[in-house]
Amino acid sequence: MARYVLRRLLLALPALFGLVILTFVLSRVIPGDPAATLAGDGATPAQIAELRAQYGLDRPILEQAVIHVRQVLTGDFGRSIFSGRPVAEEIAQRLPATLELTFAALFLATFLGIPLGLVAALNHNGPVDHLVRLLSVGGLAIASFWLAIMLQLVFSMDLDVLPLRGRVDVATGLPPRVTGFVLVDSLVAGRPDMFMDALRHLALPAITLSLPGLATIARFTRSGVLETLQKDFVLYARAAGYGRIRLAAIYVLRNAVTLVVTQVGLLFGALISGAVAVEAIFDWPGLGTYAVQAILSADYKALLAVTMVVGVVYAVVNVTVDVAQALIDPRVAEDAR
């Protein structure tokens, strides 16, 4: 098992190196002159040229690439040419917000999606099955920005029960920063009121973000369970007198869910990119909105760093998923040998 984990980790390294190179190339082909943006509205061409030299933008592209790789390896992402602050610091401020939102959405998608899929499969072609199918088609088809606005209109404006935007109430503010995760920090600070406030703020963005994932997971669980139900061992188990619930929840689900776990890994990437729109609508101060601002202001340093960080997080999640899969189904680790 340990060897399996190590192998997965090693395989992630070349992928990340490729990402460093690819993002650098991409950042240099996007249009826009970062020096001009940085110099500001009233700047003269001479001022812009000076900044270009200051940030090394006038050096040969290969030299810039080497410098970039060296910096990334040492964890130094440079200063944002937009805000003048260290990029690493800005990302550290924003990453927890995105992770909190993404994990909340992933949690909802997984722990609602799997039972829904299971129930649907057990009621194959029954009314519950139809309902779940409708939900999953809708979940994939509905655009997240539309859903977000609708949720805001209903729950914030009409019913006035959930906040419209932000991570916490502006008057109370954030709890003292320990991890950057508000849900954790509020508990560390011994402030259950802040925890509940943060949870209420998290509700709408997390629901919006989770829906497509929830739909995917429900569908995969459903088809996985249906397939497993046809297997011989289920027939034997039934013949041996296992109860319906016990059979479904333990034997069928464990066999059916490996496919779903793979999906969870893939979903995580989709969730992070989906977070861009959701964060913008709910003013969630995460990496998504940071990346958008970086693009609009041609802040390539910030953009490179965001891509790298997301890449690393994605790689870590996928290794975790591989390991989880091996734990659920030991055959996976065996096959990989």
């Binding site: 826009g32 020096a35 009233g42 001022q47 812009i48 805000s83 029960v161 932000g166 003013d283």
Partner: protein
């Protein structure tokens, strides 16, 4: 019970199980929903959002207030100018304190201007042609002398751009000869009416301000000043309007979409402040690229834009027709100027003449819009439809501010046409007509029409060098008349600033500089 109420009741019951945050006994802070600048360093950037920091966290020697904006002595109690217009002496008020309690002296003023000039970013552009760092000196503990290298009338108008920073607060944070720029990007070292809480500052996400009780102007003008301000930019227009209606924020930005005005005004807890600003909407033509090197071609386009349709229908009459480069409400405009009107017949005649002179009217013309600014798209689409009626093919190219302004550095890369506004950076015709049509500014986005007229250059340069306001007025009028006749660009409207506010905000006073963001004048009703 209708379905809507039933649905509401069921959902409310379901969600009531989630506890609600306790209500606060204290007054809720002012929540300012306008955009925050990229950096808090007042010498590193100069754009519309940065004026909020400049006005509230810092002070300048002079300040613009009111509408039309008046230049009022601020940190300086007075100034004198030598007869040749080269030497300017400013005297500071007594008893000015920075946020750390230390006293402001002439040395801080000298330091601030030297820092500005050394960093050489956007706010320095107004000074670098005429001011060298060594020519800013302290002549006494409260007196500062500026010696210009040539007479420059807009000097005083540009003085409010420069924040005076506390050099003692900055000194420990200077690294690699950076003038403390990395530190000041997320901290403050000012004397303004509010101070920044650096612990809660996050670039473009949040800035918390607390009132500075020892501000040198005192607080006698305001019985109930606002103690706490939370600046929380709202990214999406739809969320911004909803957040205002719900009272989550107290103020939107000052570009409330015209289709939202009625909705905000109708709500019992919100209103819209409408103020004529100094911000001109312009469709640029690249006068170096055919067919726009031909005057008739330019006049053809100028007559093909449906000004009334755009201003009155699309923007619901919430703007004012502005027929020249300067805003209507500024001095220096010829009183007899009749703006070009939408007339496709006249347009066609000009186009025919241009075509006869060999101008390639038939080629596809590109107009670049700023994708994130809805109005630029609307204007381009309307223009496209009308031009098609006279046989001109306009192609709309989505683009961004950053990208277009870097393209305007050279005439060849400047788009055929593009759309933008020119806001109030300083209140002087130099900010508009001066920097837009004097050929010495070619290569900057403001002069991206690449217009060249030797006579206009002379007039604008004389106006820039003269200290006689009446003479300057004359010169600007003359130059504007000539520019108008050459029709280098299409001037559309002057902005009405539309800011949504909750009704608990009192004392909001608009000025085109800073767009009404001066918090020290405001209070909150209970």
């Amino acid at each position: 019970m209708g379905f809507r109420r039933l649905r509401a009741a069921v959902l409310a019951a379901a969600i009531a199980t989630l506890p609600v945050a306790p209500t606060l006994a204290q007054q809720r802070p002012l929540v300012w929903g306008d955009t925050l600048p990229a950096t808090l360093d007042p010498h590193a950037i100069f754009d519309v959002p940065s004026q909020f920091v400049l006005l509230n966290v810092y002070d300048g020697l002079y300040r613009y207030q009111g509408n039309p904006p008046q230049l009022v002595p601020w940190l300086a109690e007075s100034h004198t100018t030598s007869a040749d217009g080269l030497t300017w002496d400013f005297t500071l008020r007594e008893g000015i304190r920075f946020h750390d309690g230390s006293a402001m002296t002439a040395d801080d003023v000298v330091y601030s201007f030297r820092r500005l000039l050394a960093m050489n970013r956007a706010p320095a552009a107004a000074f670098t042609p005429v001011l060298r760092a060594e020519n800013v000196t302290a002549t006494g503990p409260r007196t500062v002398r500026f010696v210009l290298s040539s007479p420059y009338a807009p000097f005083l108008s540009a003085i409010p751009l420069v924040a005076i920073v506390n050099q003692r607060a900055l000194a420990p944070h200077v690294a690699n000869n950076d003038w403390g720029a990395t530190w000041l990007a997320a901290n403050s070292a000012g004397s303004g009416a509010y101070r920044v809480d650096p612990a809660n500052y996050q670039t473009r996400v949040s800035m918390d301000l607390a009132r500075f009780p020892d501000h040198f102007m005192g607080w006698g003008h305001n019985q109930r000043p606002i103690e706490q301000v939370r600046a929380r930019p709202v990214l999406e227009t739809s969320t911004r309007v909803l957040a205002l209606l719900r009272g989550e924020i107290d103020a939107t930005d000052s570009y409330l979409p015209t289709d939202q005005v009625e909705r905000v005004d109708r709500n019992a807890r919100t209103r819209v402040a409408r103020d004529e600003s100094m911000r001109v909407f312009i469709i640029r033509m690249n006068n170096r690229k055919p067919p726009f090197d031909n005057r008739d071609a330019r006049l053809c386009f100028a007559h093909a834009f449906n000004y009334q349709g755009f201003n009155e229908v699309i923007l619901r009459g919430l703007v004012v027709r502005n027929g020249g480069p300067n805003p209507n409400n500024l001095w220096g405009n010829p009183p007899d100027l009749t703006p070009y009107a939408f007339n496709l017949e006249t347009a066609r005649q000009h186009c025919d003449r241009a075509r006869a002179a060999g101008a390639p009217i038939g080629r596809e013309i590109e107009i670049h819009i700023q994708s994130e600014l809805e109005q630029t798209t609307q204007a381009a689409q309307m223009f496209q439809a009308d031009l098609r009626r006279i046989g001109i093919n306009l192609r709309i190219v989505p683009n961004t501010w950053a990208n277009i302004t870097s393209a305007t550095a050279r005439a060849e890369s400047t788009p055929d046409m593009w759309i933008h506004w020119v806001s109030t950076y300083f209140v002087d015709p130099e900010n508009w007509v001066g920097q837009m049509y004097d050929s010495q500014f070619h290569g900057t986005w403001k002069a991206s029409a690449w217009y060249t007229n030797a006579e206009v250059d002379t007039l604008l340069r004389r106006a820039r060098a003269s200290l006689d306001r009446a003479e300057r007025e004359q010169l600007y009028q003359q130059a504007t008349r000539q520019i108008f006749a050459d029709s280098p660009d299409i001037w559309v409207y002057n902005t009405l600033n539309l800011r949504g506010l909750t009704r608990r905000v009192e004392g909001y006073q608009f000025s085109p500089v800073g767009s009404g963001g001066e918090i020290r004048l405001m209070s909150l009703a209970n």
